[in-house]
């Protein structure tokens, strides 16, 4: 029996209904070409729920009392992707060399920094940033926290466990970070100093639910906006803008830009990297 034979077909109209439902709740947008992804990842849910086809699945999500919980599971299944330590290292270098020193200057009075990894997946970015802060040698005695938020409870459970296979450190930058991890039963487990900084929680970026209440100094939102359509991206950015301290930094993925999305941030070139900053005196976003 092959994969092809066992697969439930997802008709175009049901794909559109599912995608609209997921979009309405989480802002995630699946382009037409990703129909196969929904078919492959959500297909096994039909048997699990005792449903005949994807039309029944859509009705279940829409009408059944268990629909909202299943919708969250579906969104998780569709957005979980393998990641690794030291991804897009140039930005992390800019963070380490340019942004951290400036934060030390600006926040030296209060000696307190809050950072946010929005869409933290399985936590690699949170631990990487925590390691960079500790490695900087300038923040001893400071009150530090790196918040990681994600929609996926499954990913958050893995992030909290903080245990990774050796392959997660396959990039050169990742290998350098490995000294903050201990090998235990074949897996690399985050050391206690990293764990003290890392805080994880569930959040819906579209609605701003679950984001840290206290203002943050830096937001990492890398390769996350690409899951949203433009109106949803704007909404996500408004929530992130509201959470950022004035003068706070926003780091997006290389493939992402604020062009046409938000004029509430200033673009700042640091080395070869383009990062964004909430202007001083800007209490909220544009009306």
């Amino acid at each position: 029996m092959s994969v092809q034979e066992t697969r439930q077909a997802l008709p175009e109209e049901i794909f559109r209904l599912l995608r609209e439902l997921i979009h309405d709740h989480y802002g995630l947008w699946f382009h037409d070409d990703l129909r196969f992804l929904l078919e492959l990842r959500l297909g096994p849910r039909l048997a699990l729920l005792g449903l005949r086809d994807f039309a029944d699945y859509h009705r279940f999500l829409r009408l059944d009392p268990r629909g909202p919980a299943e919708l969250l599971d579906a969104a998780e299944l569709l957005t979980t992707n393998e990641t690794y330590f030291g991804r897009e290292p140039e930005q992390l270098r800019v963070f380490e060399r340019e942004i951290v020193p400036e934060l030390v200057r600006e926040r030296g009075g209060e000696r307190r920094l809050r950072l946010l990894s929005a869409g933290c997946a399985t936590g690699e970015e949170v631990y990487s940033v925590a390691a960079l802060l500790l490695d900087s040698g300038r923040l001893e005695g400071w009150d530090l926290a790196v918040h990681g938020v994600d929609l996926s409870r499954r990913c958050l459970a893995r992030a909290r466990a903080g245990a990774y296979p050796g392959q997660a450190f396959r990039s050169p930058e990742g290998q350098a970070l490995r000294r903050w991890f201990h090998l235990r039963e074949g897996r690399w487990v985050a050391a206690e100093p990293l764990r003290r900084l890392a805080r994880f929680g569930a959040a819906n970026l579209l609605h701003g639910e679950g984001l840290p209440v206290e203002p943050v100094d830096v937001v990492f939102c890398r390769n996350v906006l690409l899951y949203f359509d433009p109106p949803a991206r704007r909404q996500v950015l408004r929530h992130l803008h509201a959470r950022l301290r004035e003068g706070g930094w926003l780091l997006l993925g290389h493939a992402e830009s604020l062009l046409q999305l938000s004029a509430d941030f200033e673009a700042v070139r640091l080395g070869d990297e383009l990062v964004f900053r909430k202007p001083r005196g800007a209490a909220g976003g544009s009306p």
């Binding site: 029996m1 092959s2 994969v3 092809q4 034979e5 066992t6 997802l10 175009e12 109209e13 559109r16 209904l17 037409d32 070409d33 990703l34 129909r35 196969f36 992804l37 078919e39 492959l40 096994p44 048997a47 699990l48 005792g50 009705r59 829409r62 009408l63 059944d64 009392p65 268990r66 979980t80 992707n81 393998e82 690794y84 499954r154 459970a157 893995r158 466990a161 245990a163 296979p165 392959q167 997660a168 396959r170 039963e185 897996r187 062009l259 046409q260 004029a263 200033e266 202007p279 005196g281 544009s286 009306p287």
Partner: protein, 702 residues
């Protein structure tokens, strides 16, 4: 200085942040401030320009700004200023169209071009006739721009004009027309595309157009596309093959696979080019390339295929491609070399391929990974063992059926069912394991496996589950009974435990019990005219009484499941009770939808009741009404369908297309054809057009 004059003066301040904040305070409704906002559209800062666009978009009377914005489309000094004017026009929406359409008749080619672009940004169908006229403009750039905009706006008239543009002498127009049709997901007839393929310039667009084709004749053209020397055309053909995978049946794809194999035998470079395409970064291209490599089945490329399993989206396709390769020592050797360089999740896919090739240690590696601490690796390993279907994996997977994580137990149940349904030896191994575990306590996942591949002798084990302490186990036992019923293993059985489950304190158990009765009724439907007293009726009298009682359950999901079961019995006597639920617009959509579907099984529904149900707020109810209306004879049924054609929900209109096609009522031909021409949604327009063709006695396209 008052606030407005302060904002006006600060809008020209040298500091960008100050200008930005000032612009946000300007009111486009005040003439002087509108002047400043229009001037700020050419500001050097994109933040300030964006803010000006936003403020102009808030204007209550768009006509005050649109003529001046249109002047800026080609009059602004900078390109950024022109783009901002276009964005501002788009934010004003269709109200800006009349002035733009006048501009389309300008004698200046540059002005006409700017106007076409702005019309595209607004995206209104009212502009289609003017845009179609532009396809004959003397300026080739304008013709192409108009075709591109028609591809954004859509509609039957736009599609007709774009199809006609494929016969133009202007190659740019033909290429843009193809792309525009592709954007609308409309595929021209394959014979027409075949002619366009003669021109190398048009090939990429032609292959993209074939991606949405449903004609058998499109497949050989795509196979030939894989032989293209030009990379862009070749990648377009591969992406179209990837798209076709989602559209075609296994039989149709087998025809394409055969053609690909035949061509690749004559040109070994076909496979090499597919390997090269795997690195294109385009998911659809990679999907097509993996599919083709699987069809070609050449071991030389197995490593390149296995490496793609790193990408989560492509992993299932990688498994499929590896599965298609000839199993044996050669495959084991090739994949064994690539294994060390793969991350853990991707390694699972390769182990699966190696196990299929007969490597016992790979099967063992997979069996060990079902206990992996990484949930993703664990899930992939469980699923892989299910796909492999080896009876030897049953005890390993059986141990997970009682896992405390429901997702793990559920995946293990899926895998056990896959093994059990694969072969008689597999079924025996699975049942042997499950019976032993069920006797020792059981679980919800275990019940599911027993329901799916158990025998009549397993009935008592499942019935025992209805007395379990856990809600989940009671519900899954009821669901397992339903599955046994669907498999014809229960005929006219009296199941007092199931009837009692309809009164269970936990609503999920009550829902599962009602659904089990639906399955039993459907499986025994042919006995409905028999004597209930001797068990010939689908359900016994006590079950009927319990289901009628469940119609008043406090939990909507139970009411919905109970009404579905009564509908499945097909007895007219339940009609009034079902109709009462169907016509209750205050009831939850779940209940009303199930009641409408049940009513449809009891005969043609009452049009007045359906009319009332159309007033329900939920679109799922509207779709159920449409499905039922398709069965209402004569004018009352037509009236309901016509009314639903005006729904602002595309899915409701699509349901009308399905109902009309199924009804085969020529009295709806004119309405359907008219709606097809006017519908803004390409999918609905196509479905309505197909329905109209079917009504006209010309089946034509599917």
């Amino acid at each position: 200085m008052n606030q407005a004059s302060s904002a006006l003066s600060l809008a020209r301040h040298p500091d960008e942040e100050t200008r930005y904040r000032a612009v946000l305070r300007l009111d486009a409704g005040v003439e002087e401030e509108l002047d400043e906002l229009l001037a700020r559209l050419s500001d050097p800062s994109w933040r300030v320009r964006t803010a000006a666009v936003e403020r102009i978009g808030a204007l209550a009377e768009p006509a005050r700004a649109s003529p001046r914005l249109i002047d800026l489309l080609d009059g602004a000094e900078t390109i950024a200023g022109r783009a901002a004017a276009e964005a501002a026009l788009a934010s004003l929406g269709p109200a800006a169209l009349p002035a733009l359409l006048i501009r389309l008749a300008s004698s200046s080619g540059e002005r006409r071009l700017a106007a076409v672009s702005a019309v595209g940004a607004i995206g209104s169908r009212r502009a289609v006739p003017a845009l179609v006229a532009c396809l004959a403009d003397p300026d080739p750039a304008l013709r192409a721009a108009a075709a591109e905009v028609l591809g954004k706006v859509g509609g039957a008239e736009a599609v007709g004009a774009l199809l006609a543009s494929l016969d133009s002498d202007d190659v740019t127009l033909r290429a843009t027309g193809l792309d525009a049709l592709g954007a609308l997901r409309v595929s021209p007839p394959a014979a027409r595309v075949a002619a366009l393929l003669a021109d190398p310039v048009l090939r990429p667009g032609a292959y993209r157009a074939l991606a949405a084709s449903e004609e058998p004749a499109a497949l050989p053209l795509l196979a030939r596309g894989l032989m293209e020397q030009g990379r862009t055309a070749r990648l377009a053909a591969l992406a179209a093959v990837g798209s076709q995978r989602n559209r075609r049946s296994a039989e149709e794809l087998a025809v394409l696979a055969g053609e690909v194999r035949r061509l690749s035998r004559g040109d070994v470079a076909v496979a090499d080019r597919c390997v090269e395409a795997l690195g294109s970064g385009e998911p659809m291209v990679a999907e097509g390339a993996l599919l083709v490599l699987g069809w070609i089945g050449d071991l030389t490329h197995a490593q390149a295929v296995a490496r793609q399993a790193v990408d989560d989206r492509l992993r299932p396709l990688v498994e499929h491609a590896l599965e298609a390769l000839p199993a044996g020592a050669g495959l084991v050797e090739v994949l064994g070399k690539v294994l060390p360089e793969l991350p853990p999740v991707a390694r699972v896919s390769t182990f699966a391929a190696l196990a299929r090739a007969g490597q016992a240690s790979a099967l063992q590696a997979l069996q060990e990974r079902v206990a992996d601490p990484d949930p993703q690796v664990q899930a992939e390993a469980i699923a892989a063992l299910g796909r492999l279907g080896d009876p030897a994996s049953a005890p390993v997977l059986g141990g997970l059926l009682t896992d405390e994580a429901p997702a793990v137990a559920g995946l293990a149940a899926d895998a056990m069912l896959a093994i059990g349904l694969r072969s008689e030896a597999g079924r025996r191994a699975v049942l042997l394991d499950c019976r032993a575990r069920a006797a020792a306590g059981g679980s919800g996942a275990l019940h599911r496996v027993l329901g799916g591949c158990g025998e009549a002798e397993d009935l008592w084990l499942v019935r025992l589950g209805l007395h379990a302490g856990s809600v989940q186990r009671r519900a899954s036992a009821a669901a397992a009974l339903a599955t046994l019923g669907q498999r014809g293993l229960l005929r006219g059985e009296h199941l007092p435990e199931l009837i009692a489950a309809l009164g269970d304190e936990a609503w999920p158990v009550r829902v599962a019990a009602a659904r089990a009765f639906t399955a039993l009724a459907e499986a025994n439907f042919d006995a409905r005219l028999g004597d209930p007293a001797i068990g010939e009726h689908p359900l016994c009298d006590q079950a009927m009484d319990a289901l009628r009682g469940a119609l008043g359950d406090r939990e909507p999901a139970v009411r919905g499941a109970a009404v579905e079961a009564l509908g499945a019995c097909g007895r007219q006597e339940h009609g009034p009770a079902v109709a009462a639920l169907a016509g209750d617009n205050a009831a939850p959509a779940l209940v009303v939808v199930e009641a409408l579907r049940a009513l449809a099984k009891l005969g043609p529904p009452d049009p007045a009741l359906l009319e009332r149900a159309l007033g329900h707020a939920d679109p799922e109810v509207a779709k159920a009404v449409v499905a039922a209306a398709g069965r209402v004879p004569g004018e009352p049924g037509r009236a309901l369908l016509r009314r639903s054609l005006a729904s602002d929900r595309w899915d409701v209109r699509l349901a009308v297309a399905t109902a009309v096609a199924g009804r085969g009522d020529a009295g709806l031909l004119e309405d359907t054809a008219r709606a097809a021409a006017a519908d803004p949604d390409p999918l609905v327009a196509r479905a309505l057009a197909d329905a109209a063709l079917a009504l006209a006695g010309n089946p034509g396209r599917r």
